[in-house]
């Protein structure tokens, strides 16, 4: 898998970047960001259109709980993808089901699940730390370049490609359903399947992003690129392009900040995303 990031090492040497940027783990981080930007940036405008921003925050917290459950039952830390994905899917699908069938407002239902996953995560975390060091899961909470392995890149490539293909295949139907479920239903769109299918897609995308961005901050990568892009875009096409561009720019910027100042990658990326959002606010007004 080193061929995917060897080019970065050659490039950083050629342009004379400091030695810290030539390490393998930084190169793996760059490749991970370049794969995550189209994945999360591309999904973000659909997440915002479907008003699932708060939902993705809850999934990030559920990922942390899934991780601690996995560790608590004895799964090695590096093999916790299954417990993270399994718990997130369970939470996401149950949340979507109750959202559809409850008379409560959607944000209230999501808020209940957010509290539940966080409470459960904290309890299991305390129980689990009797058998392992809590600092081991910091990487998943806040994101860390050091823990990204070749296997993570392969997983990101494979699952990212599958998610991208699924979204491209169903894009028009998903967007039509986001705008008006009754109009989409009249045209034969399977609205229930779209709702649950999109939850699965977002869950998979969040799970494969955790090591780079962190469970507590992944929501930012799913929401802020679209929020910033909306300030600039005049069409769906522009919305997608700006979302991906902002995700890539903030991702790489955050990674450089993280490498240069030794701060958690996730936090640095979120700061960079926030800067992008605040810059696009006045720029968007000027463009109108």
């Amino acid at each position: 898998m080193s061929w995917t990031y060897a080019w970065w090492i050659d490039f950083s040497r050629a342009v004379g970047l400091p030695e810290a940027f030539q390490y393998d783990f930084v190169a793996r981080g760059v490749v991970a960001i370049l794969m995550l930007a189209p994945l999360l940036g591309g999904l973000s405008h659909l997440v915002v259109a479907r008003r699932l921003a708060f939902f993705s925050t809850t999934l990030g917290q559920a990922a942390l709980t899934g991780l601690t459950i996995g560790v608590a039952v004895g799964v090695p830390l590096e093999d916790t993808y299954v417990s993270i994905l399994g718990f997130c899917l369970l939470v996401g699908v149950v949340m979507a089901f109750i959202r559809r069938h409850s008379r409560l407002p959607a944000d209230t239902v999501i808020g209940v699940f957010m509290a539940f996953t966080l409470g459960l995560g904290i309890c299991v975390l305390v129980a689990a730390t009797r058998s392992f060091n809590v600092h081991q899961i910091e990487a998943v909470m806040f994101g860390s370049l050091l823990t990204i392995t070749d296997r993570d890149l392969v997983l990101l490539l494979v699952l990212g490609t599958l998610v991208g293909a699924a979204v491209a295949w169903a894009y028009n139907t998903i967007l039509a359903d986001s705008l008006s479920p009754p109009i989409a239903a009249a045209r034969g769109a399977p609205t229930t399947m779209i709702e649950y299918g999109f939850v699965v897609i977002v869950t998979v995308a969040i799970t494969v992003s955790l090591k780079v961005i962190g469970a507590l901050l992944v929501e930012a990568m799913v929401v802020v690129p679209a929020a910033a892009a909306r300030n600039l875009a005049r069409s769906t096409r522009g919305y997608l392009v700006w979302s991906i561009a902002i995700a890539a720019l903030a991702g790489l910027g955050g990674l450089f900040i993280s490498t240069a100042w030794r701060v958690p990658t996730g936090g640095a990326i979120v700061l960079a995303l926030s800067v992008c959002f605040f810059v696009t606010l006045p720029v968007g007004r000027l463009l109108r």
């Binding site: 405008h45 259109a49 008003r51 008379r103 491209a168 894009y171 028009n172 139907t173 967007l175 039509a176 986001s178 705008l179 008006s180 479920p181 009754p182 109009i183 239903a185 009249a186 045209r187 034969g188 609205t191 909306r230 875009a233 005049r234 069409s235 769906t236 096409r237 522009g238 919305y239 997608l240």
Partner: protein, 243 residues
């Protein structure tokens, strides 16, 4: 909208009704909003549902679309292209969403993701639709920038292309100026005559009801009366419903 003139509706087709509701009951928050409604909408007819606010008209349409749970039976019978068009009463999409009219209309008219561009074929069709609803040349306008009447025209254009076999309209004239309402009526009558489209529509406009309705149902939780416009309009209950 279409300026073509049309004759009377074609002779009714034999066979089952296009839509048949049998003892349909819908409850919300513990309150019955539609109670035991039985109704048959014949193919190739324009059937209007009238009634006061809260009578259950929009809820009934939503149930026909499969968007609202109900007790009883709703059967639809298709013999043509099976296309269903729907013009909603409200369109609650986020108005800050950057989507153009062309992109919105392309969603149901091309397989290629709209965010990657609009195909030449879809673009041509969209041009025709916009010309038909009086919005020619407005492809690049954002949905969020449209007035209520313009948005209503876009929704009507979306629903009538391709000519649907069944068209469900929930107060489609809301926000339209008088000329546009007349054009809408001509479009609906034209669809019925040219394509045999069955129209089930909610309306409050007495003049429109008289102009286009083949059948009218007065609904107030239960079916109060069904018949021709002359049979249903004019009595005290209808007057109250439309006042």
């Amino acid at each position: 909208m279409s300026k073509r003139k049309h004759g009377a509706a074609k002779a009714r087709l034999d066979g089952p009704p296009a839509i048949e509701l049998e003892r349909v009951t819908i409850a919300r928050e513990g309150r019955t909003v539609v109670d035991g409604v039985s109704l048959a909408v014949e193919p190739g007819t324009i059937h209007l549902v009238i009634g006061p606010n809260g009578a259950g008209k929009s809820t009934l349409l939503s149930a026909v679309l499969g968007q609202t749970p109900f007790r009883g039976q709703i059967r639809t019978s298709f013999r043509g292209n099976g296309v269903v068009g729907y013009v909603p009463q409200t369109f609650v999409a986020d108005r800050t969403l950057p989507i153009t009219i062309a992109e919105f209309l392309a969603l149901g008219r091309q397989r290629w993701p709209v965010c990657l561009g609009i195909s030449r074929g879809a673009r041509a069709r969209i041009g025709e639709i916009l010309e038909r609803v009086g919005l020619a040349g407005m492809e690049r306008r954002r949905i969020g920038e449209l007035s209520g009447g313009e948005l209503r025209r876009v929704l009507i254009g979306n629903a009538i292309d391709p000519a649907p076999e069944l068209l469900l309209c929930d107060e489609p004239a809301t926000g339209l100026d008088p000329d546009a309402v007349l054009e809408l009526d001509e479009t609906l009558v034209g669809l019925r005559a040219d394509s045999g489209t069955t129209v089930l529509m909610v309306s409050h406009d007495r003049a429109q009801i008289r102009r286009i309705a083949d059948r009218v149902t007065l609904l107030h939780v239960k079916v109060q009366r069904t018949g021709t416009a002359d049979e249903v309009l004019g009595d005290a209950a209808s007057e109250r419903a439309l006042s």
